[in-house]
Subunit: 345 residues, 4 copies
Amino acid sequence: MTFLSDNAASACDEVIAAVVAANAAQPFAYDGDTLSARLDAVFGEYFGTACTVFAVSTGTAANALSLAAMVPPYGAVVTHREAHIHVDECGAPEFFTGGAKLLLVDGAHGKLTPEGIAAGLASHRGDVHQVQPRVLSLTQATESGTAYTPDEMAALGDYARSRGWRLHVDGARFANALVHLGCHPGDISWRAGAAALSFGMIKNGGMSAEAIVVFDQSLADDLRFRRKRAGQMPSKGRFQAAQLLAMIESGAVSRNAAAANAGAARLAAAAGSRLMHPVEANELFVDLGGHSESLRAQGFKFYDWGDAGSGEARLVVAWDTPAAEIDALARAIAALPEAIAALPS
Amino acid sequence: MTFLSDNAASACDEVIAAVVAANAAQPFAYDGDTLSARLDAVFGEYFGTACTVFAVSTGTAANALSLAAMVPPYGAVVTHREAHIHVDECGAPEFFTGGAKLLLVDGAHGKLTPEGIAAGLASHRGDVHQVQPRVLSLTQATESGTAYTPDEMAALGDYARSRGWRLHVDGARFANALVHLGCHPGDISWRAGAAALSFGMIKNGGMSAEAIVVFDQSLADDLRFRRKRAGQMPSKGRFQAAQLLAMIESGAVSRNAAAANAGAARLAAAAGSRLMHPVEANELFVDLGGHSESLRAQGFKFYDWGDAGSGEARLVVAWDTPAAEIDALARAIAALPEAIAALPS
Amino acid sequence: MTFLSDNAASACDEVIAAVVAANAAQPFAYDGDTLSARLDAVFGEYFGTACTVFAVSTGTAANALSLAAMVPPYGAVVTHREAHIHVDECGAPEFFTGGAKLLLVDGAHGKLTPEGIAAGLASHRGDVHQVQPRVLSLTQATESGTAYTPDEMAALGDYARSRGWRLHVDGARFANALVHLGCHPGDISWRAGAAALSFGMIKNGGMSAEAIVVFDQSLADDLRFRRKRAGQMPSKGRFQAAQLLAMIESGAVSRNAAAANAGAARLAAAAGSRLMHPVEANELFVDLGGHSESLRAQGFKFYDWGDAGSGEARLVVAWDTPAAEIDALARAIAALPEAIAALPS
Amino acid sequence: MTFLSDNAASACDEVIAAVVAANAAQPFAYDGDTLSARLDAVFGEYFGTACTVFAVSTGTAANALSLAAMVPPYGAVVTHREAHIHVDECGAPEFFTGGAKLLLVDGAHGKLTPEGIAAGLASHRGDVHQVQPRVLSLTQATESGTAYTPDEMAALGDYARSRGWRLHVDGARFANALVHLGCHPGDISWRAGAAALSFGMIKNGGMSAEAIVVFDQSLADDLRFRRKRAGQMPSKGRFQAAQLLAMIESGAVSRNAAAANAGAARLAAAAGSRLMHPVEANELFVDLGGHSESLRAQGFKFYDWGDAGSGEARLVVAWDTPAAEIDALARAIAALPEAIAALPS
C-alpha cells in the first residue's frame, strides 16, 4: 500500500493501446509522422487557442527547456522557494538557460502572490550587478497540493506582464488542479498570460511523454532547436505523440486526475485538523504527530516531509491507487491517537 | 518502399511486449524499479565486464552526456569530419560539455586512423590559446556504413590512451557493426579502450530508449547527476529499462541487426561498382549516376547525399524492411543504365 | 566627501610607478615577461607556501574562475546569503561554472559557522535530484565588515574538508581583515584549508589587477585554460603583474589597508551604539535613525543599506580617504540627535 | 631584435600619460566616472554614427562577448578557417555563447568572399538537426595580413544581411587596415553593415583596454549585462576609459598603425617574391626557403608558421619597433640566397 509518489503509477489503458498502435513503421522519422503532425491541433482545441506542442521525455526537460526559451543567461526566474525547479531538478534550469538564477520568494501553502513577490524582491536592483527577472514560474497544482484559482493566476499574470516578465507554468499536476477548479484549461494557462506550460502527463497515467505547450508562438522556433540540441527529439516521435494524443482525445487526462483527487479528498476528510495545507489536488501534507512509524507498521509506505523530526508526512494518491488501499489508510489515519512527542533527534 | 532511415522503423515484438509487461505499478519511481535494477548486470554479462548503464531517450543525449563526462569545457573532442556529433546533433555536444570544441579529422570511408589524426592535428598546440584534446570519438558503424575492425579500434584506443585522451564510441549502429564483424561486443568497446559507448537500440528495433554503457566506472557518478540535470531521468524508468533488457536478453539486438545487414548486402551486390564505400552495416552510399529520379519514379524513397548534383544517394535498410521491397530495389538498381550526365545545377 | 565605495579610490604611488616602469617592451607577450615570471615566487614568499598566481581584471572574474575550477556544473557552492558572489556579480559564478547553484546560508554579522551551515542544509539530500555541495565560499572580510578569526576559518575549513568540499575565499578586502587580525596571511588562507583565494588589490590601492592565489596546485592547470578562455589573459601581462608585485613587495598592501581600517575605526568610535556589526575592516554599517538626509546635506556621500526606509547606511573608508573628511564625518555622526521616526514609505 | 608579436609592444606616451592622469579618485566606481561617460560620444564622432562602447581587458573578451550578444546557443558563427576566434581563443566564443558552433570557410589570403561562403555552406541545412548561422565574423586586417576593401566588406555585409545574419568584425588590427586603405573608419564597419566591432587598441600602443564598439544599438543592453557577468566590468573603469580616449583623441591610433605598417612595407619590399600574401597591415608571411635559422643566428626573433618544415615564417612589426632593427632585418632578408631544401622532418 504505497502513497510514495504518483511517479511510479501505471500507465492507463488508453496510453498503452496508443503506444502499441503507433508501432507500425512510417516513412519519416523524428516528428515527420502522422501522429506528431496532429499534436498542435488537438491541444489547440483542448486549450481553445493556437499553440505549439513539443513532446519531451521528462517534466524536468519540459520546465528547463521552456525557461531557456524565455530568459537570457543574465536573467532570473522568480519562483516559490519550494518550487520543483529549484529543489528537485538538479540544477536543470541553470543548465538549460546557460546559468540564469532562480530568485526565491515565500508564500503560504506553496502559492505566490503579487504582494509576496514584491516584498521578496524589494531590495532587488535593476543595475548590471544583479541578474534581471524575466520570468515568473508558478507550479499548478503547487508543491503543497494547492491550486491557484483562475483569478489568482490572472493576477500573477498581470503582475508579470506589467514588469515585462513572461509567465511559465510548471503543470506537473496541471490536470489535478484543473479538475479541482472545474474551470476551462485556458483559464489557468494562456488566459492568465502563460507563455508556456509544462503539461504533465506521466504522473497522471502517461508512460514516457510530457508536453510543452507553447502559447507565445514567438518562442516556438527557438524551442524547436533547443529541444533537438537537448537530446529531446526522439527518432521515433510517434511513440511520444501517441501518448499525448491518447490522454487528451480519450478524456483520460481528466478522468485519471479526478480519480486521484477523489482519493486524496477521502484521505483529507480522515486527516481533518492534521492537514497542513488545503487539499486541492492529489497530494496531502499531514502532521502525523509522532505516529509515522505506527502507520508504516500497518503496511503504508510514504515519505516523511519537512524538517527531520517534524512528524510531517506527504501522502500522494495516484490515478490508479486501489480504493481499498485508500480506504484502509483513511481508517488508519482516523484511528490515530493524539499527537505524541517526537523522539529527540 | 522507403529506404530513408532506420529511425522510422517499427519496434520489434519483444520490445513492445516488454513495455506492456512493465506497466504494472511499482512502489518506487525513477530508477527504483526492479527492471532498472537489472540493467548493469545484464549488460555486464553481455559485454563481459562490469559496466554502468544509463537509459536515455535519444542517441544525441547518449553521445552528448557521455562526452560531457569526459571533457572539460576547454577541452576538445577529436572526431571524423562527418561524425554525427558534429553534423546532425544541433550542437548538443557543445551544449552538454559547456562549450568544448570538436576538432575534425578526415579519413577514408568514414574511418579515423592514428596517422590521419596525427596529420590532422599536426599544427595543434598545447598552449593555453588552444583547446586541448581529451576525447577521441569514433562512430561504429561509421557514418559511411563501414565498420572498424577490432584491431583498428584497438589501435585507435592505444593512440588515445597514449595521449591521455578517453575513447568514446557512438554506437548508433553498434549492433550492425558487431554482426558484420562477428566478434565479441567487448572487442569493439572496452577491450579497445572505450570509456563509454552510446549503444543504439532504437534504430535496431527499439522504441524510445538508448543505452549509455559506461566502462570507465570513474565516470558513472558524474553521469548519474548529469543525466538527471539534462532531463533524461524518466520518472517511470521501468519503461526504458524494459526495452533495453528485452533487446539484449531476447537476442533481438543481434537478430534485428543481422536482418538489416543482410538486406544491405543484397542491395550492395546489385549496386556493384556504384558503391562508394564498403557495405559493412545496413547503409549503402551509391553513385546513381543521374538516375535518382528514375528510381523514385518507381516508388523508392531515399535521400540524396553528398554535394548537390553529385548523383549520390544513401540507402538504409531497417531491421523490418520487407524483403520484397529490398528485392525490388535490388532489381531496379541492377537494371539501371550507365551513368547519365548530371543536369547543370 | 565620499564614503560610497573603496572601488573608486585612487591607485597608490607604488602601483602607478610600477605600471609606468613596466612599459618597456619585452620580447614575449601574454605571461612570457619577466614580471609575470616572478608572481608565484613573490606571493609564495608572502603566504609562506607554494602557490600559483593568476592576474585577472576584476574581483568578479577572480571569484567566478576560482569557483569554476572547483565545482562541477551539477555541484553547489555553499555561501552566505549576503555573499557578493550571490548578490552583486550578475550571475558570474553560474556563468563560469556552467550553471552550478549557490546554496545560501544565514549567519550573524555576515559570518558563516559550521552550525549555521549544518542547519541551513539540514534538508538537503545527496540524491541525483539535487545539486551537490562541493565548495564552501567565505568572504574575508565579510560583506558586513567583520573578519573571521584564524580559528573561525580553520573550523570552517575543517567542516568543508570533512565533507569533501573545497574552501574558497573571496578576499576582496583580504588585506583589511589581515591587518585587523594581526595574523600571518597563511593563517586565514591555506592554513585554514583554502584551495584558492581571490586576493583583492584594486580597492586597496591597486589599479586594474586582482590576484587569484591557488594553494591547491591540482587546480592550477585547469585555471590556466579557463582564464584564457574567459578573456582574462592580457596580451601585455606585465602591466597586471607589475601592479600585483608592487602591492606585495612595497608593503603597500598592508599600509593601505591599515590606513583604511584606522579611518573606519575612527568613525566607529563616533557611531557607538548605532553600529549594526563590529567594525573589523574598512566598512561600517550604521543605523542613522532617520538622519541620513541630514548627513547628506552636510556634504557626505554614502549609500543607504538594508530595506527601504530602514534608516541604515553603509560607510566605506578607502585607503586614500582624506583624514579631514573622516574627521568631519566622525564629528557629524557624533553630533546626530536621537533617532527620529522614519518617514512612512 | 624581435618580430614575434605586436602583443608585446610598449604602450605609447599618450596612453601612459592618460592612465597616470586618470588616477585622481572620483566619487563613483565602475563606469560612473567622467572618463567612461565620454566614451560613446568620442567614438561616435570618430565613426560618424551613434555607438555604444564597452571597454574590456582583452581582444578575446571583446570578440566572445560580441558574438554572445548576436547568436543563440543553437546558432552558428560563419568565419574563416584561420580566424583567431577559432584558432587562438581557447574556445572563448563557445564559452560565452553557451556553445554555439563556428562554421569554417576557406578563402585565399585570409579573406572570405560571398562565393566562398556559399560554397562552404552548400550542404548546410536549415532543419533542427543542424546549428543555424546567425553571424558572419570577419577579421580586419585578416590573419594573413591583408585588408578587406570597403567594397569587399560591403559585399559581405550585404550577403549576411540578406540571410538574416549579423556582421561581426574582429578588429584586433583594425587601425592597421584603416591606415592601409585610407578610408573612413565607418567604411569598414557600420557602413558595411557591422553590428559590432572589436576595436583593437592594445597591440597598437594601448596598455590594457580594448573597445567593443556596438553599432546595432539593440545589442547594447544585452552586452551591458553580459560584460558584468563575464567579469569584464572593472571597478575603476576610468583607467580603461582613459586609454581608449587617449588613443582616439590624440590621433595615436592612426599614427601608431601607420608606423607599424610602414615598417612592414619596408620588409615586404625586401622580401619580394618570398611573400605569401599581400602586405596590407603590419604582418608579413614569408617563405624563408630553409634560411630561418640563419636569420635567427643574426639575432632576429620570429615565429615559424604553417606546417612543420614548411620554411614559412611570420614577421610582425609593432608600432614601436626600432627603425634600425627593421632596416637590419630588411637587409638580412634581401641578402638571403635562393631557397635550400628543407631538412627531412
